[in-house]
């Protein structure tokens, strides 16, 4: 298809984020923003402030992740006894119960996925800032994986919602959502926004600069 690898940036062209129409980058002053002629979306050569925004959001998410794990996710009261469950104690409950499959699913969604997401995003950010040209294709794939997998962390939030609905103040007891639920929801939402604001084309810009 293309013998010489040329990017839109090198040709002074810009690809619309929403509709992918390729147009010439209009010359605008600092305060003006160009808009796509087809769909009206703001045109940016690269996602604006991608590195700074992603860093800020990843750090915010890591800070929220601490109370999300430390505080209780659900507060169960049955027949006079009150017990608080954190994310990890929920996983351990399933292990003791013999439900290994479910324990694994919850562990992956609530513990592994957020940690993987923090680590991958930080690695990608550092690799760009240190001008790494090592395996750009694999790093792009890593980014795609991070973007796709992050939403599954919502699992625990939904479990809390369903439990709370099913076990309403009855003879059986009641379940209330604990403070960790909000922090954990914030972690999921913030990391999703962080991944969406990261621009994988920055990985390739570094590679192109080295080749020029």
């Amino acid at each position: 298809m293309n013998a010489t690898h040329v990017s839109a940036r090198q040709l002074g062209l810009v690809s619309c984020h929403a509709c992918h129409l390729l147009s010439r980058m209009p010359k605008t002053s600092a305060h003006e923003v160009a808009h796509c002629s087809r769909c009206g979306e703001e045109l940016h050569q690269r996602k604006p402030n991608s590195l700074t925004r992603t860093w800020a959001l990843v750090i915010a998410a890591i800070i929220f992740y601490i109370p999300a794990n430390y505080l209780p996710m659900t507060i169960t009261s049955t027949l006079g006894t009150v017990s608080a469950d954190t994310i990890m104690s929920g996983v351990i409950y399933f292990v003791h119960n013999g439900s290994w499959g479910i324990a694994l699913v919850v562990f992956v969604a609530s513990v592994l996925v957020p940690i993987l997401k923090f680590s991958i995003l930080i690695y990608l950010l550092l690799s760009i800032q240190f001008k790494s040209i090592w395996r750009p294709k694999e790093r792009t794939r890593l980014y795609r994986f991070t973007e796709a997998v992050g939403r599954w962390s919502m699992l625990d939030i939904y479990v809390v919602t369903i439990l709370v609905a099913l076990v309403k103040l009855g003879v059986l007891g009641s379940i209330e959502a604990g403070p960790a639920a909000i922090y954990f929801a914030a972690v999921v939402v913030i990391t999703m926004i962080a991944a969406a604001g990261f621009d994988p084309r920055l990985i390739w810009d570094v590679v192109e600069e080295q080749n020029e």
């Binding site: 298809m1 293309n2 010489t4 040329v6 990017s7 839109a8 940036r9 090198q10 040709l11 062209l13 690809s15 984020h17 509709c19 992918h20 129409l21 390729l22 087809r38 769909c39 009206g40 049955t78 409950y93 399933f94 119960n97 479910i102 699913v105 750009p136 294709k137 792009t140 980014y143 795609r144 939403r151 599954w152 919502m154 699992l155 939030i157 939904y158 479990v159 809390v160 919602t161 369903i162 439990l163 709370v164 609905a165 099913l166 076990v167 309403k168 059986l172 209330e176 959502a177 639920a181 909000i182 929801a185 999703m192 969406a196 994988p200 084309r201 990985i203 390739w204 080749n211 020029e212």
Partner: protein, 220 residues
């Protein structure tokens, strides 16, 4: 290398504005320019440098999208109006709907969480289906409507926030968790909801994004 890049620059820009047969797309993950030939139906073009999908063509995009979307709306109506899960323990029972959990969270004062669940499991899937109808019905009838372009842009933006399949997995986890306490009986709405996950996915994968943008552009 500099000369090559320069030559390529001339070539690409002239091609971009002169030839009608091919068009150019920049890979949205690595920014590499590709000349896209006229593609056969049901084909995908991938980036030669990073492997991401550049565009996909579909067969009968308009009819299939409309059919799946209408089926989806019917299932959606069933899913929100019929009982979702019931918990039984001897004579004591508690029946819940899709909205009960959200209501309960609101009662407990955790409103941001209630809003998040409401958006990701109910409102955004509905927005997706309604915007598909709003774009594809006029397209089918060959008429033009206002705001089709912003609606389609909205449709693209909300997509990652539609999370019904994760909610379904949440139901599974909850059933196991409460299994010792009581029996959980799935209601009609659960069946509708799980079918809706597939139907909405079929609707989304029938959308030929490139075709939609081209048609919306021609009209405006």
């Amino acid at each position: 290398m500099a000369l090559l890049a320069h030559l390529a620059r001339e070539l690409h820009i002239s091609e971009l504005f002169m030839s009608g047969a091919t068009h150019q797309i920049a890979c949205h993950e690595c920014d590499l320019i590709h000349n896209i030939p006229v593609m056969p139906a049901r084909a995908a073009a991938c980036c030669v440098r990073c492997g991401s999908v550049l565009l996909q063509t579909k067969v009968n995009s308009i009819d299939r999208t409309l059919a799946w979307t209408i089926a989806g709306l019917v299932l959606y109506a069933v899913a929100v109006s019929f009982p979702f899960l019931a918990m039984k323990n001897g004579p004591i029972g508690n029946e819940t709907g899709l909205l009960s959990g959200i209501q309960q969270l609101t009662n407990q004062g955790i409103i941001p969480l209630a809003v998040l669940v409401l958006l990701t499991c109910l409102l955004i899937p509905l927005i997706q289906m309604l915007s598909l109808l709003y774009i594809f019905i006029p397209m089918k009838l060959n008429i033009r409507v206002k705001f089709a372009i912003p609606v389609f842009r909205l449709f693209k933006h909300v997509k990652p926030w539609s999370m019904m399949e994760i909610y379904m997995l949440g139901i599974l986890v909850s059933i196991v968790k409460l299994g010792e306490m009581a029996t959980i009986v799935p209601g009609l709405a659960v069946i509708a909801f799980s079918l809706l996950i597939f139907v909405l996915n079929f609707a989304l994968s029938s959308v030929d994004t490139h075709m939609v943008w081209e048609r919306l552009e021609r009209k405006s």
